[in-house]
C-alpha cells in the first residue's frame, strides 16, 4: 500500500496526459497497481475525450469564413485603438520568444502542409478504373518493397491516386483517398531504414487529424479531415492489412 497522498491531482493529470518524465510515469504506474484507492482517484479524473473532441470539432464547423480584413496600417476600430502600444510591446516580446525557439520539422509536417492545400475538388475528377488502381498500387508496391495490394481496406475511403514523392533523399509515397463526403485523406509511406518503430499515435497537424506509426523501416501517416474516429478506424484497418 502506498501513501496515495504523495501524488497530487496535478501528478495524476500529467500522468494521464503522458507529460511526466519516464521514471515518474513508471513510479505512478507502480503505485496505481499497488494502491486501489489511488486508482480510484485516477479514474475520477478521466475524461470522455472522444466526445470532447467530437463536440469541439462541431464548433469548428460553425466557424465563419475569414472576413474581409482591413489593410495593415489603416485606422483600427475604436475598441482596439487605445491598446495598440500594449499589444505592440506584448507581441514584440512574444514574437521574439517564439522566433528564438528551435523548431524541428519532420517529414509529417511537410506532408501535413501539403495535405492542407487539398480540397474536395482536387480529387473530384480523378477516378481510376479498378484495373488502373490495381496497376498503380502494384507499381508503387514494387518501388517501396512493401505490398500495398490490401491498402484499400476501408470501404469509406475511395482510392483516387498514388504519387511518388521524396523527402530528404528518402522515397515518400502518397496515396490519395476521398471520404464519402469528399474530404481528402492521404495515406503516406516513407521508406527510411533509419525510422525507429513507433506505436500508432493520434494527433492533429495543420488542423488535420492524423494517425502515425512506424515499423520495419517504414513510416506511416494517415491524415485528413477533422473526424478523429474515422481516421483512427481507417488507420487500424490499414495497419492490420499491410
Amino acid at each position: 500500500m502506498t501513501d496515495q497522498n504523495i501524488y497530487t491531482d496535478e501528478d495524476l493529470t500529467a500522468y494521464l496526459d503522458a507529460e511526466l518524465p519516464q521514471d515518474r510515469m513508471g513510479a505512478i504506474a507502480a503505485a496505481l497497481a499497488a494502491d486501489p484507492a489511488l486508482a480510484v482517484r485516477l479514474q475520477a479524473l478521466r475524461l470522455p475525450m472522444g466526445a470532447l473532441r467530437s463536440d469541439f470539432a462541431d464548433v469548428l464547423r460553425q466557424a465563419p469564413a475569414l472576413p474581409v480584413l482591413k489593410d495593415a496600417g489603416r485606422q483600427r476600430p475604436a475598441l482596439w485603438r487605445g491598446l495598440a502600444a500594449a499589444v505592440v510591446l506584448a507581441t514584440t516580446l512574444g514574437a521574439t520568444a517564439w522566433a528564438l525557439r528551435p523548431q524541428p520539422r519532420d517529414w509529417m509536417d511537410f506532408v501535413a502542409a501539403y495535405q492542407a492545400l487539398y480540397v474536395p475538388a482536387t480529387l473530384a475528377d480523378v477516378a481510376p478504373t479498378e484495373a488502373q488502381a490495381t496497376a498503380q498500387l502494384a507499381a508503387l508496391s514494387a518501388r517501396l518493397g512493401l505490398d500495398l495490394g490490401a491498402v484499400r481496406v476501408d470501404p469509406t475511403l475511395r482510392y483516387r491516386r498514388g504519387q511518388v514523392l521524396g523527402y530528404d533523399g528518402a522515397l515518400l509515397v502518397q496515396l490519395a483517398f476521398q471520404a464519402a463526403d469528399g474530404t481528402p485523406v492521404a495515406f503516406c509511406i516513407l521508406q527510411d531504414a533509419r525510422q525507429a518503430a513507433q506505436p500508432p499515435s493520434v494527433g492533429v497537424r495543420e488542423g488535420l487529424q492524423t494517425v502515425a506509426w512506424a515499423r520495419d523501416g517504414y513510416g506511416f501517416l494517415l491524415i485528413g479531415g477533422i473526424d478523429a474516429e474515422a481516421i483512427i478506424a481507417a488507420a487500424q484497418k490499414i495497419d492490420a492489412a499491410l
Binding site: A18, P48, Q62, R76, Q103, V202, G203, E206, G207, I232
Partner: protein
C-alpha cells in the same frame, strides 16, 4: 502491432504552412490566415463565450497579425503566434474596459480566471460536454482547448498563455476534477 490511439502525439510539433521563394512575412501571414481561421475563431469563442465577441476578437487578431507580420518568422508556428496574439488582445481589452468602468487595474491572470458567462444564449455549446466545459473559468477551459483539443504539449500551451508549465498542469487537473462526472454518461473512451 498493438494499436493504442490513446498514445498521444501531443508533444510532436505541428508545422505552420511553409512556402518557398522570396515572400515577405506579410505574405506568409496573409496566406496562413484563411486555413487557420476556423481554429482561431474557436479559440476566440472559447475565450469570450459569445459569438459576436468571438467574431470581433478573431478578426481583430487577423488584422493585428497583418499589421505586425514583420514580427512573425516564416517557418515557425503561425497558429501559436495567432493564439498568443488573440490572448494578448483579449487580456488588454478586458483590462482597459475595467479601467473605463472604474474597477481599476487587475492582474491579467486574475482577469483570465473570470468566467465571462458562457451560457445557453448561444447554442454553440449545446451538448452536455461543451456546456460543462463552457462553465469552467476561462483559464481552465482554454487549457482544455489548447491541450486536449488542439493537441499542444503543456509547454506549448504555457507559451501561448504566457504562464508557467505548472500553471497549465494545475488548470487541467482542476478541469478534470470538475468534469469527471461526465464520464458516467460517456462511452468507453476515457483518457
Amino acid at each position: 502491432m498493438a494499436f493504442d490511439p490513446t498514445h498521444s502525439q501531443n508533444t510532436r510539433r505541428r508545422g505552420s504552412i511553409r512556402f518557398f521563394g522570396k515572400k515577405t512575412s506579410q505574405d506568409h501571414v496573409r496566406a496562413g490566415l484563411a486555413p487557420l481561421y476556423p481554429r482561431l475563431w474557436r479559440y476566440a469563442l472559447t475565450t469570450t463565450g459569445r459569438r459576436d465577441w468571438a467574431d470581433d476578437l478573431a478578426q481583430a487578431t487577423c488584422e493585428r497579425a497583418l499589421a505586425k507580420a514583420d514580427q512573425f518568422t516564416p517557418g515557425t508556428h503561425l497558429d501559436r503566434w495567432l493564439f498568443a496574439l488573440a490572448r494578448s488582445i483579449w487580456c488588454n481589452d478586458l483590462r482597459s474596459r475595467r479601467v473605463r468602468t472604474g474597477m481599476g487595474l487587475i492582474p491579467v491572470e486574475e482577469a483570465g480566471l473570470q468566467s465571462h458567462g458562457l451560457s445557453a444564449e448561444t447554442n454553440l455549446f449545446s451538448t452536455e460536454v461543451l456546456s460543462n466545459v463552457a462553465a469552467l473559468p476561462e483559464a481552465q477551459r482554454l487549457a482544455v482547448l489548447l491541450v486536449y483539443i488542439e493537441g499542444y504539449s503543456y509547454r506549448e500551451a504555457a507559451g501561448i498563455m504566457d504562464v508557467p508549465v505548472g500553471t497549465i498542469m494545475s488548470r487541467l487537473a482542476t478541469a478534470r476534477a470538475k468534469l469527471g462526472h461526465l464520464q458516467h454518461g460517456a462511452g468507453g473512451d476515457l483518457e
